[in-house]
Structures are given as structure tokens and as C-alpha cells.
């Protein structure tokens, strides 16, 4: 994946970090409400990372913790696993969800700080299907061309949750679904868990 796209992912994921205490849940998702949610999340994430009163690793962990509330991780994780979900034990399902959530949160959150000076702006919002809204955003970077990304947001309970991101027309969830299926085919489900663990359990920078 080109680094530019990765940088967008990380901004978007980071921006989605925080819970939103906006309007009440509705059967369909208000595009305007979803756009405000994304905007607000982005601002909160940048402010959390920009503070320097605690070690970077702690700030990144804080943002990951906040991000957890901005994504429907269970929904995404299950979609990405596809038909394999029903073939594994309950314990394996739980372990997968734990690792997958860490993977989503850690992979993308660890990138944001590397792209200081980027700005995220909302360029549009529209309904998607009967339940969701798509929020269109543009990331402007100090170097390189701007990147357009679309967030699929669903109102659930009393909050908005991100259920997918598309960058340059490529859905993250669909891409991962295909990648995971390939790992399972070649190395089994425990091979996938090992791969996810390896991606999320690296040692951090040393001092």
C-alpha cells in the first residue's frame, strides 16, 4: 500500500478515535451528524497527540483507547473474517476479535504522528444505503498531493460508529477480507492469529 494512502488511513482512524455524544440514534444516519462526528473526532485526536505532557507511547495508547469507541470493531472484524467466522471455536473468535481490534487500532494510530502538519477537511456527506452515511474528506499534506477518503458511518444506539473506510475507492474491509482469506488458506486460522499477533505485539522504540 502506498505510504500516502497509509497516512490517510492513519489520520482517518485516529480521527475516529473518540466517542461522540451527539444526537440520539436514528434508523438512518444523518449525513450532517456523521460529518460533525468525523470533524470532531479529528480535532480531538490531534489535540491528544499534540500534547507533550506524557510519553508518546502513552499518548498513542490513549488515542487507541478512545478510538475503540469510534469504530464498530466487532462488526468490522466479523465482516473481514467472512465465512471463516463460523468455522472456528468461540474461544478462537474471541481471540481473533481481540487481536483484530488491536491490529486496527495500533496499526493506524501509530502512523499519525509521523505526518505532522496534515489537515483533514470535510468535503461532503451523503446517505449510503438505507442505514449509513458516507462522509467525504480530504487530507492535505505538507508534501505530496491531497488524498480523498470516504468514511462509512452508521448510527447505532446513541452514537455514530465507523464501519469502513475507502481510500481512492478501495475499501479497507474488503481488502483485509481478501488478505486474511489468503493467510487462512495457506496457514490455517492459527496462522492468521499468529500473523495478527505479530503485527500488534512488536516491541516499542527503546531509550
Amino acid at each position: 500500500m502506498p505510504s500516502g494512502i497509509r497516512s490517510v488511513f492513519c489520520i482517518l482512524f485516529f480521527a475516529a478515535a473518540l466517542s461522540y455524544s451527539g444526537g440520539p440514534a436514528k434508523a438512518s444516519t444523518s449525513p450532517q451528524g456523521a460529518a460533525q462526528f468525523i470533524q470532531w473526532l479529528g480535532e480531538q485526536a490531534i489535540s491528544t497527540l499534540g500534547s507533550t505532557n506524557s510519553p508518546l507511547a502513552h499518548r498513542e495508547a490513549s488515542v487507541r483507547q478512545l478510538m475503540r469507541q469510534g469504530f464498530d470493531l466487532a462488526f468490522i472484524g466479523r465482516f473481514v473474517l467472512g465465512r471463516h467466522w463460523r468455522k472456528v471455536s468461540t474461544d478462537q473468535q474471541a481471540h481473533y476479535q481481540e487481536l483484530f481490534s488491536s491490529y486496527i487500532l495500533q496499526t493506524y494510530s501509530s502512523h499519525l504522528g509521523g505526518y505532522t502538519g496534515e489537515t483533514l477537511s470535510i468535503t461532503g456527506a451523503k446517505p449510503a444505503g438505507s442505514k449509513d452515511a458516507i462522509v467525504q474528506t480530504r487530507i492535505v499534506r505538507p508534501s505530496g498531493p491531497p488524498i480523498d477518503a470516504h468514511w462509512r458511518v452508521r448510527a447505532k444506539g446513541n452514537q455514530f460508529l465507523i464501519i469502513d473506510i475507502s481510500v481512492e475507492g478501495v475499501s479497507m474491509a474488503v481488502t483485509q477480507r481478501s488478505e486474511f482469506a489468503s493467510v487462512i488458506k495457506n496457514h490455517g486460522f492459527e496462522g492468521l492469529l499468529a500473523a495478527l499477533r505479530a503485527r500488534t505485539d512488536k516491541m516499542p522504540a527503546a531509550n
Binding site: L49, H111, G114, N186, E190, L192, A198, K202
Partner: protein, 288 residues
Amino acid sequence: MSDKYQARPLTKQRSRITAVVFALGLGGLMGLGGLTGFSGAARADFEAGWLAYQRTDFATAFKEWQPLAEQGDARAQFNLGILYDQGKGIARDSDQAVRWWQRAAEKNMAAAQHNLASHYLAAIGGNLDFQEALRWLERAGNLGLARSQYTLGKMYGYGLGIPRNMRMAVSWMRKAADQGHQGAQYNLGKIYRDGNDLPANMAAAVYWFRRAANQGHARAQSRLSVRYARGEGVQTDNVQALFWATLAAAKGEPLAVDYVTEMRRDMSSADVALTERRAAAWKAEPEG
């Protein structure tokens, strides 16, 4: 771990001697630099890089660490690998990350060995290299790194890249669990509960589930709850069973959510209220 690889500050006198030796061209002959520590200036450069890293100025961190890494400083090599791996301050490049981690790993830096192994296990592009992963994990595991020991336990337990060997799995899991690794404690609990190729031992399963549960491991809390409910390896105690299931359910552990619903039906309202109060006041006790 960090102490072992921390650049050692030199006294002013030793710095001067080092400078003279290098001026005479004897540095390589005496093995200075990569093996015997770095000058005060190099240490200052490393710290400048670290401070820049902390304020998310990764471009500056890269500039400070790169020359040190080229000179053989294992910590700088390791951190440079992190910058490349995560695309911090520089375009993401896993080949470069591997290159720098390899250099630090060859100097016996366990963290670098672990990350190198993680690269081979991460299956980027669908390919795993279990053999390389095992090689580096065993080196890091033997240096005492709990994460590597845990991963080795998993690989032996599931036969990933090697024939399944439960004795080896237990041996590595035990090393990590003794150091307080929650996942290893939980997995040891499962191995003792199920037996697999070894004799089951419910008391040992309860011991390890409890240690992980006390640290806040939700699945271990859920499994400990079941042991109390069934009286397996511990005396039956429905209040304890509900207590641990309540904690696990609060973290979204799906089985525990069902247990809580079932158990509450069969218990007195006084017991339920007491358990809820205790669960609300409970705090995780991380080991170490």
C-alpha cells in the same frame, strides 16, 4: 533490558582517550565504537533523537539516530527500524526496518530479535516464514523476553512451522507466565484444563486462570468463573462464579454475558447485590 543496551556514558577522561585513539587510527583495532560504548556526543545525539521522537518530530529523530545506527549503536538501529516500520518521519519501508532490526538482533538485542521474528510472522502479502521467526524468537526467548517466550509457546502448541509439542509449549509458556505475561498465564490455564497431550490438572488451571484474571484478563476471568460454578480444581462457589463472570462480561466477553444472566436467575437478590458491589470496587493488579 533497557539498561543492558543503554549507551554507556564515558567519563571526560575516557572520552579524551577515545578521541586520541581514534585520531591515531586505532579505533577499529581496539574494537571501540560498536562494542565498547559511545562517546558522550553520541549519547547526546541519541537523547536528542529520543526527545524529538517524544514530541513526534520523527524527521529529526531519524536525522539524529541514523548516523549512530551506521556506526553500530544497537538502540539507534532498533529505533530506526521502528521509524521505517511505522512510517514515522519517513516513507514506510519494511525492507529497511528488517535491515536495521537484523543488525541490532545480531548484537543480541532481544527487542530487535523479537521484532525481526514478528516481521517473518506478520504474513505481509500472505507469506509467513516460520523458520526464521522461530530462530529469532528462540534467541530472544533465551534472553528472557516474555513476548517471545509466549509466541514460542503458541507456535509449539499449534505446530506452526514445527511439529506440535505440548511439553515445549508448556515450557515456553511457563517462562513467560512466571514473568507475569497475562496471555501466557491464560494459555497455561487452558492447557492444564484440557490436558491435550499432557495430563489435565484443574488445580493448576485454576492457579493460572486466577493469576491472569487478577491482572484483568477477561477470558481468564470468564474461565475462572466456570471453574467456580462447576467446582473444578476449586470448591464450588456461586458467588465467586458470578463475581468473575461479571468482571469478564463488563469487558464484553461473550460467554460471560450469558453466564451472568443464567447465574443471576438462580441466586438470591442479596448475593447478586453483594457481588455487584464487589465487582464495581474491583481493581486489576498488574504483575510487575
